[in-house]
Amino acid sequence: MRSRARRPALAVVAATVLALPLLALVLRAFADEWRAPALLPQRLGLRGVRVAFGGETGAAFVNSAQVALLTVAIALVIAWPAARVLGERRLRRPGPVFLLLAMPLLIPSYAVGTGLTEWFIRLGLDGTTPGLVAAHLTTVLPYVTLVLLSGFGPRLSAVEEMGSVLGLSPVRRLWLVTIPAAAPTIGAAVLLGFLVSWSDYGASLALGAGRPMLPVVLLPFVGGDPQVAATLTLLFLAPAVAALVLTVRAGRRPL
């Protein structure tokens, strides 16, 4: 059906645009010495790993993961009932709710963080995990709701009804029918929510009060110490790779 000649061309494009840049990143991370104009490093080593995992940056990795996981978990619980109502098109006029959900996506997260700082300092929340989770929730919750609602609809309701007819209690029905049937959408929502929080720079910078978060810690290294920057960038990429693998595996939707 499709001309075979296009495949190698596509592979070349994919390699130059995607694989090669990332490969260079791995090389850069393990190059203790790589002066221009050499094409390959003069000396390989683990200096980048030592700096990246030591002290503040190691803590940043843990902080970022912790905030992202908490934010996604809370967003999922809050978004679930709303996504059901919106996904099943139960509202006669859903416009205002969609508008409200879209608003935080149009505002820079630095602005959200700056605006919340005013209150969070008074409440003693700046630089704390609950404070950062709340700030990230402002953008993560709309994304999670918007992705999740695409999983609800007449097909899911029909399967659930079958479960009820078979005599499943609401809890068992949720566990045995609804969650497995909506799993690909839930997966997509979780991954997107995690990535939005994980890569957030603005809100974390405004509200972090010096608490190390991975993107904030990484940025100064890009100009100052490329080897450490490359190592941290690989760490930074890990969830994205996991996201890709899981998304491809969840690609075949059961419903």
Binding site: V17, L18, P21, L22, A24, P37, L39, I78, A79, P81, R84, R90, L91, G95, V97, F98, L100, L101, A102, M103, P104, L106, I107, P108, Y110, A111, V112, G113, T114, G115, T117, E118, W119, A134, A135, L137, T138, L141, P142, T145, L191, L195, W198, S199, Y201, G202, L218, L219, V222, P226, A230, T233, F236, L237, A240, A243, L244, T247, V248, G251
Partner: protein
């Protein structure tokens, strides 16, 4: 049954929406109110419009607005056009090509910016391989590096949105139109465009708003002057701990207002914001 239980159902629906709606109202509304307050009441001072007046009379802010809007407009238009072409070319492709096209979507912006520095900066890998680059692409005055990073990230994002819209229903409509003798050019106008208009406009609004507001990319690959509006805000709050935050909040509020205004206009143009 639905009609009989209508009132009860509507109440339950509102209850189910309440947690999400109230959370956003509280956090997002709180953030906006906080930013307005910060811009009007300086630390330990009297309420007034000093921050706004300083902002509007600052030449650097005007430069930042011009630079930010230009970078955002160029990135959005180029990403939109290239994404439509790519999606059109890949409309019959299989899962592998689609996955490949979607690959940069989950990669953080900061990572792409780091790659741009590693490859494209003076003395970077591209220069080592090619000998020299004809133009400056990183830290250049025109912001070409910023645009490149955003194109790498946003074209795949828009392609994913467009390919989702160009699914089964579109193929059937297009074949039906071809069968009754509609010319290819007319099919682009009357079948393709109505299919992709909604998601394209929504996607472009998100891209534009993101480019206007984010600052990790310009911090890494942008010129030292002019700053983007977000960079300007950051510099102000770092430079002056008393008056700075007010000016920063005012600058950020003006970008927020501009993005929301633009979104409202674009939704009006698109008429159907959900593209359904």
């Amino acid at each position: 049954m639905r009609v009989v239980a209508g009132g009860h159902r509507a109440g339950r629906d509102r209850l189910m929406l309440a947690p999400a709606v109230l959370t956003i109202l509280l956090l997002f509304g709180g953030a906006l109110a906080g930013a307005v307050r910060t811009s009007l009441v300086p630390l330990g001072g009297e309420a007034g419009t000093d921050a706004w007046r300083t902002l509007l009379s600052d030449g650097e802010f005007r430069d930042a607005v011009r630079f930010t809007l230009r970078t955002a407009a160029i990135s959005t238009v180029l990403a939109g056009v290239l994404a439509v072409l790519l999606a059109w070319a890949a409309r019959r492709s299989g899962t592998a090509v689609r996955a490949l096209l979607a690959l940069p979507v989950p990669v953080p912006h900061l990572l792409v910016a780091t790659l741009a520095v590693l490859w494209l900066s003076p003395g970077g890998l591209a220069e080592r391989i090619l000998g020299s680059l004809p133009v400056d692409l990183v830290h250049d005055q025109e912001g070409a590096g910023i645009v490149l990073v955003y194109l790498y990230k946003e074209i795949p994002f828009l392609v994913v949105l467009l390919l989702a819209a160009m699914g089964q229903g579109y193929r059937e409509r297009d074949e039906a139109a071809a069968a009754i003798g509609v010319s290819p050019r007319q099919r682009l106008r009357w079948v393709l465009w109505p299919t992709i208009r909604g998601p394209l406009i929504v996607g472009c609004i998100i891209v534009f708003a993101y480019v206007v507001g984010a600052f990790e990319v310009p911090l890494v690959v942008g010129p030292s002057y002019p700053p983007t509006i977000a960079e300007y805000a950051l510099q102000r709050s770092d430079a002056d701990l008393i008056a700075g935050p007010g000016i920063a909040a005012a600058a950020l509020l003006s970008t927020a207002a501009a993005s929301m205004l633009l979104a409202a206009l674009a939704v009006r143009v698109a008429k159907d914001p959900q593209g359904a």
